[in-house]
């Protein structure tokens, strides 16, 4: 059993915070505080180090924002659960093992289960539920892809190390790393600003990503109907046509703002499928950073569905419209929402017309005070766990790097539901 005062050096630590889940971090623990020793982006560092502050380590369980003992809070939560006719267990960010517990929890109370980002991730699943899809994974892109197209205004902020680790790496096994060509298409100014290093292999094309389908259509027809200058378009088209392994990458969380999100993704996917008749190409959709993939996968193998499930007695059913968590909350059709937020820093938007319990790591943000707040540890910092990477292929081990200040989300769930 380690003591609080022990100093420990860690290497090859997995970051739980963005869906790339980089696993090369060096950390030092002194007095149970975390110090990131790797030369990485400040925002990545901060996600670890912000957990060192005293205020973060002294959060108590609360009922109506008043501190209470854990037992009192558990008792009150049980009461809210008992009084509720319809309870939504809402995954706001969890690793695989919390996600497993969430499904078990929902079945115990005949509740509804959904993930906070399901509207976004269902758009990607929709593609292969309706038509063909060719996809790839990070190491394939790093080692085999010679031309990479990324649609984004903000990707480097959401996935800070995507470019250096995957899209424009120093080493590549099957293609010459220095011969790779990476097109980042979107808000040029923003994309350049957020870029970690200058790299001549990367070309930024200024473009409104709402018009992505039009660009794809232009590429298909080999005729430019977009706002991109013809000479730039033609060079881009030629690169694509000469590519040996084209990757097209996007984050659905960005495209979702587009009313035609599904059509946009679908047009990219169809284009990629058609290229594969003669050459090789693949899609790399980037998943959300709130344990989205771990939720899809875990719920998938346990129930056959990615989210939006209701348990009733001995059985469960999936209904994409009826058990849509955010809609249930907005339309006041739920009595109680239990948010479980193990990892994310995204602000939770609560509805005061229903009761709210948050089981969340201590820096969880929310807009209005919940009825109950119970702080929990973070998998990958306080507890061991497992998390799926954005490409759905690799699952990474999360390690308990420090002595936990708070109970695990699983333990809390078991306590309030038994």
């Amino acid at each position: 059993m380690p003591k609080i005062s022990d100093s420990i050096d860690y290497k090859d630590i997995v970051c739980p915070f963005c869906s790339l889940h980089c696993d090369d971090l060096k950390l030092k623990i002194i007095d149970n505080k975390i110090y990131v020793k790797s030369d990485i982006n400040e925002s990545c560092k901060d996600k670890f180090e912000r957990n060192n502050s005293t205020s973060i380590n002294t959060v108590s369980p609360k009922i109506n924002s008043k501190s209470q003992s854990f037992d009192t809070v558990v008792k009150h939560s049980k009461k809210l659960i008992n009084e509720s006719n319809e309870t939504l267990i809402f995954n706001a960010s969890a690793d695989v093992n919390i996600a497993r517990e969430l499904i078990v929890s929902t079945s115990k109370i005949n509740g509804i289960f959904d993930h906070i980002n399901s509207e976004t991730f269902l758009k990607n699943i929709d593609i292969y539920q309706r038509k063909g899809f060719m996809s790839t994974s990070l190491s394939e892109v790093k080692n085999k892809s010679d031309v990479i197209v990324l649609f984004s205004d903000n990707i480097l902020k959401n996935y800070p190390r995507l470019v250096e680790r995957v899209l424009a790496p120093d080493n590549s096994f099957s293609v010459k790393a220095n011969k790779k060509k990476i097109y980042i298409i979107g808000n040029k100014k923003n994309n350049i600003k957020q870029s970690f290093k200058k790299d001549s292999r990367i070309e930024y094309i200024d473009f409104n990503i709402r018009d992505t389908s039009m660009l794809i259509e232009s590429l298909k027809k080999k005729s430019n109907k977009t706002s991109i200058k013809d000479n730039i378009f033609n060079e881009f088209l030629q690169r694509i046509n000469n590519s040996k392994y084209l990757t097209i990458c996007w984050a659905t969380s960005e495209l979702i703002k587009n009313v035609n999100c599904y059509n946009t993704i679908s047009s990219i996917s169809e284009y990629v499928v058609s290229i594969n008749e003669k050459s090789r190409a693949a899609c790399l959709p980037l998943a959300g950073n709130d344990g989205d993939v771990s939720n899809i996968q875990t719920t998938g193998w346990l129930t056959g569905f990615p989210s939006r499930i209701k348990f009733t007695g001995n059985y469960f059913e999936y209904d994409r419209d009826l058990y849509h968590g955010n809609n249930l909350i907005e339309s006041n059709n739920i009595d109680l929402v239990i948010y479980v937020n193990g990892i994310s820093n995204k602000k939770l938007i609560l509805n005061k017309k229903n009761k709210n319990i948050i089981i969340g790591h201590p820096s969880t943000k929310y807009d209005i005070q919940p009825d109950v707040f119970i702080p929990c540890g973070i998998p990958g910092i306080d507890y061991k766990g497992l998390i799926f990477r954005t490409d759905n292929v690799v699952t990474l081990p999360l390690v308990d790097i420090k002595i936990p200040t708070y109970r695990s989300a699983q333990e809390i769930l078991r306590r309030i539901l038994n």
Partner: protein, 551 residues
């Protein structure tokens, strides 16, 4: 732990040459024992019962990325109107339902044959959530850039052996499988076919060489299960020749050819599609060190899932319903998920059905052929009882053949085959033989000291399909988990693995390679026993190698 006395049963225990003998079986502390010192806690009257060791499925796709893609892709087949606990489709059941269905049929161990090392955690996670049964995986090699580059530069066999042994340990597997050797990799470089003696463009390596090197590695390391091979040219008319060439690639070393039905096609006749089961089984019957499983097809909707992205990409044109997914995976392998409906109106599908049955019936030795549908590729594992009836009952079989919507009688010798499998042969092919070929010393047998994984069937049921579908009692690790055909409380099985020794210097080389080219580090790639039990949720049982490593 409670003791159980199975009294006066008709015992089939081929591992001990016991065939239909009136006997008692005693169980204590999870094991079969010779006798009990005290009166047993539970006596089950087996006067009208058949007792066999628990069945073992050595090739069933039950956990991993492609299985989960199929679950999510085909959700319209999860039946919302049936108010059972679990509504997932039989061909893509949830993990929970997988365990419930297997144990309900008397299966106590199941093996996932296509575990991608890079996807190993997911496979183990899914399998850990399958209740009741023991499980294990075969690690997929032979399309990974690392191995192909090693072969291309002429690495010494002992270095390859080190790599193979490392992969077995790191991915917590019990065997090695190769799928379309080199072909999945070649597809990433835009090759669309790769015959046994054809060189890949990128590595200039042939499938023959890959199979040879891997079969040798498995043999020299002393891994009990022979190299598990999904041949080149899956589903291609005339492919029986390349199947035989693939077998020859092992140069007499042990080799297991999986779902051989899909690789036993001729190209004769006006349809240019014919049965080559006679050629294949003739070979099987005469060549030692060769085993196979069949991959029988069943009519109806299913989904095909395979590491063979090269062939699955080609097959997507036959998708039913019209949707599919192919993926390149981590310089490791690939996958293709294509839903498919086998129709008895289709000449090709009907003949595939007959070819599978011919193969079963022409194979002389029940120790060399195993009962599989390559779940779910040929059909769901829940069709095993039906398949057993087809093998044991000629009248039933001939009736079905007569009733097929398309007449294939000129193209199959099925009617001429008189053979009916005996219960002893069924017991061999589903119990003792798979245990032996997997190196599971304590399974597939009722000798004292064996794991008490036991299935009790009701002899009074005069329909053999009904009898195999609903055993009256199933015991797993000494616990009565099915009682009067009703599944009892959940228990959780173990993960069966094998860990041959290797020179640790391979880890240094791999570490360098991972750092430079992969997107995770070696230390996060390998799965420890502690992680298996504490985090993934399944305890590991290490099986012995056949002998010390040769080179």
């Amino acid at each position: 732990m409670t003791t159980i006395h199975l009294k006066n049963g008709h015992v089939f225990d081929p591992a001990n040459r016991v065939y239909n003998k009136k006997k008692d079986v005693f169980i204590q502390d999870g094991k079969v024992v010779k006798s009990l010192k005290k009166k047993s806690d539970q006596i089950i009257n087996c006067t009208d019962k058949i007792i066999m060791p628990g069945a073992i499925d050595l090739h069933t796709h039950i956990g991993g990325g492609k299985v989960n893609i199929a679950r999510l892709m085909l959700q319209e087949f999860h039946n919302n109107s049936d108010r059972d606990y679990d509504l997932t489709a039989d061909f893509v059941p949830s993990t929970l339902k997988t365990g419930l269905q297997y144990i309900g049929m008397g299966y106590t161990s199941c093996f996932e044959p296509a575990l991608l090392p890079m996807n190993a955690r997911q496979s183990h996670l899914e399998m850990a959530d399958i209740p009741f049964v023991d499980k294990g995986g075969y690690a997929l090699l032979g399309n990974d850039d690392y191995l192909l580059a090693m072969i291309a530069k002429g690495a010494h066999q002992s270095e390859i052996n080190d790599y193979v042994a490392f992969i077995l340990k790191a991915s917590q597997c019990i065997g090695i499988k190769v799928v379309n050797a080199g072909g999945i990799n070649a597809f990433k470089f835009n090759q669309r076919a790769l015959d046994v003696d054809e060189q890949s463009i990128r590595y200039k390596v042939t499938p023959r060489k890959i199979v040879n090197v891997l079969a040798r590695a498995v043999y020299e390391l002393g891994v009990p299960h022979p190299l598990h091979v999904h041949c080149s040219n899956l589903g291609v008319p005339g492919n029986f020749k390349s199947t035989i060439e693939t077998i020859k690639a092992a140069e007499g070393l042990p080799i297991h050819i999986t779902h051989i039905q899909f690789h036993s096609y001729g190209d004769n006749g006006d349809r240019k599609f014919s049965s080559a089961s006679a050629e294949i089984t003739e070979y099987l019957n005469k060549v030692p060190n060769l085993t196979c499983d069949v991959g029988q097809i069943m009519f109806g909707q299913t989904v095909t899932m395979s590491g063979d992205s090269m062939k699955q990409h080609k097959n997507h044109k036959h998708a039913h319903p019209k949707k599919w997914l192919c993926m390149d995976i981590e310089c490791d392998a690939g996958c293709g998920v294509v839903p498919f409906k086998y129709k008895d109106q289709s000449f090709v599908n009907a003949l595939q059905w007959a070819i599978g049955l011919e193969t079963f019936l022409l194979a002389e030795d029940a120790e060399k052929i195993f009962l599989t549908t390559d779940h779910p590729n040929g059909g769901p594992f829940t069709s095993y009882p039906h398949l057993i009836k087809l093998l044991m009952d000629k009248t039933f079989r001939d009736d079905l053949l007569d009733r097929l919507a398309v007449d294939i009688k000129e193209h199959t010798i099925l009617k001429d085959i008189k053979r009916e499998y005996t219960l002893s042969e069924i017991a061999t092919m589903t119990r003792s033989a798979p245990a032996k070929i997997l190196g599971l010393k304590n399974k597939g047998s009722l000798s004292a000291g064996s794991d008490a994984d036991i299935t009790v069937y009701d002899k009074k049921l005069n329909d053999i399909e009904e009898m195999f579908a609903h055993p009256s009692h199933v015991i797993k690790d000494g616990i009565l988990v099915v009682k009067n055909s009703v599944v009892q409380d959940y228990i959780w099985g173990k993960t069966q693995v094998v860990k041959p020794e290797y020179d640790p210097s391979i880890e240094k080389k791999l570490d360098k390679h991972f750092k430079k080219f992969n997107t995770i580090g070696l230390s996060n790639f390998a799965i420890s026993n502690d992680e298996m039990s504490e985090v993934i949720g399944s305890d590991v049982n290490e099986n012995e190698c056949l002998r010390k490593r040769i080179s």
